[in-house]
Amino acid sequence: MAFIEADGLTKTFTVRKKRQKGQLLREKTQIRALDALSFSIEKGELVGYIGPNGAGKSTTVKLLSGILTPDGGTARVGGRVPWQERRQHASHIGVVFGQRSQLWWDVPILDSFDLLREIYRVPEDRYKERLNALTEALQLGELLRTPLRLLSLGQRMRAELCGSLLHGPELLFLDEPTIGLDAVSKLALRDFLMQENRRNGTTVLLTTHDMEDISALCSRVMVLGHGKKLFDGALPDLLARYDTRRIITLRYAGEVPLPQLPAGCACEAEGGQYKITYAPDKLPTSQLIALLQSAGDIRELTAQPQNIDHLIAAMYREMDL
């Protein structure tokens, strides 16, 4: 059996609408946050979990961490049913919510860690060892005596991560961990997660809107929309499905009119620079370049890198999310 095994998870929320004038009772609507969601994750996997806002990502995390009880379906994480054995389960998992802190605001983070040690009942020697390793990897050494409120967002996120890993969880849920971080902090965070996964075999489920996070970290992606799983597989496979258009820009030496392009290509001209959009599966790139070269001397040519965000947006549109 896989490490995480979800089978037909369903969760419905009842939302009461605001009462309209002349209406006696408030209307209720049912929102199906998760609709018979099934998947399995092996130990040591690093899985990206994406989908537009309201797709049910956080609900999944809350179910798998034991905060919520599903209306239907079952799930087992490391053999445990999270919502039935919440406390037992909690000592084996770590959760970081990007928008919610689990450390104490006004005290030095070391004090927070010490209290977490008490809460998780981590033996003193194991705690010391773990804390040393984590403070080094996350470069928290000098910050340990600083109260949380004085830390920058990036530092705070590192502290949160440290706090959630102190008890050595076998499974880590990350809910938008890089939200609001600058480039340096993001890269450092990704490096750290990669290391943690490799060294300790920690299974990671990463919820994010940052596609760079996914492409840097995750070998596997699950896409969720309207509570259903829409895709489960490797990122390149996902992109291949939607990545049908490429863009190149070029500039000729001197005034050269653009040759006649085959149908299906679009061209914008701007101050001597041409921007050509084409579909590589219909018109191979080499053929296009040959055609362009035949018209004149190319001084400059750039192929625009794929923009994952655009692709995902296109994908959401196509899946009607």
Binding site: K57, I67, S91, R100, S101, Q102, W104, D106, V107, L115
Partner: protein, 266 residues
């Protein structure tokens, strides 16, 4: 055992965070002192006007006031998580964070807040107790001390139990219900005077529903050698257990309610 250690450690840390803003802390404590001293003054003025209520002399009434005040504000200092912070814990989603840890929810809620400013109110209450005890010339015995201690401890449990009602309402509706204040804050205001000065409906309310009379007034009547309703002495030791009963009942209800918890936001 471990839970108690955790609680003590948490309280220490919370106190430390409050003292990060010493000026603010001092001012607020002072404000509390003024507020509770006014309450006491109100009792003094009333007593001055009537010079006795039923069989209760001024000293007796100060004693009643003191017991309520000390109990109520001790509960507020150490049980702030339940008496004040629970609604915001729910609304802000911070409760989720607590649920992610391998500890009981109530333990962690209690560990999440203290209100040391209320120490000023406890001080006023203690002063009222001492003044009342002197004026009423209470002849202290070990048994009487035990009765008082029991009353204070079970009084705190009773209040925690009553505040849990509000918490339960919050879980279902995610907002606080002012109605519950009628028996918590209302109970404090009403029951700082002995129950037998009130008409029947109020007596029933504060004996059966929110048994302040059983937890506080019966033992205090015993202490003052003026048994409430003429009940025998042993009732002073048995009746306060009603506080534990209310707490146990509400704790069970709270646990059931938590199963319906639906969390907020992402």
């Amino acid at each position: 055992m471990n839970t108690i250690k955790l609680y003590i450690k948490s309280v220490g840390m919370l106190m430390k965070s409050q003292l990060q803003y010493p000026a603010s802390f001092l001012m607020q404590t002072l404000a509390q002192l003024v507020m509770e001293a006014e309450e006491f003054l109100a009792v003094i003025l009333i007593v001055d006007r009537f010079d006795r209520l039923n069989q209760w002399m001024p000293g007796d009434l100060f004693f009643f006031f003191g017991v309520m005040s000390v109990t109520f504000y001790l509960t507020e200092i150490f049980g702030r998580g339940i008496t004040g912070n629970f609604p915001s814990l729910l609304r802000s989603g911070q409760l989720d964070t607590l649920l992610l840890r391998p500890r009981g929810v109530l333990t962690q809620v209690l560990c999440s807040a203290v209100d040391p400013r209320r120490i000023a109110c406890v001080a006023v209450g203690a002063a009222a107790l001492i003044i009342g005890s002197r004026m009423a010339q209470v002849s202290w015995t070990p048994l009487k001390a035990l009765a008082l201690a029991e009353s204070l401890v079970f009084g705190c449990l009773l209040l925690l139990g009553l505040f849990l009602i509000e918490a339960v309402f919050c879980i279902y509706s995610v907002k606080s219900v002012e109605l519950v204040n009628a028996i918590t804050y209302g109970g404090r205001s009403a029951c700082q005077y002995p129950i037998d000065i009130y008409p029947r409906p109020l007596r029933v309310m504060f004996t059966v529903i929110a048994p302040f009379a059983l937890v506080m007034h019966v033992p205090v009547g015993y202490l003052l050698d003026k048994p409430l309703f003429g009940w025998p002495g042993w009732t002073a030791f048995v009746c306060p257990l009603a506080g534990a009963a209310v707490f146990a009942l509400m704790y069970a209800v709270f646990r059931r309610a938590m199963r319906h918890y639906r969390s907020t936001g992402s």
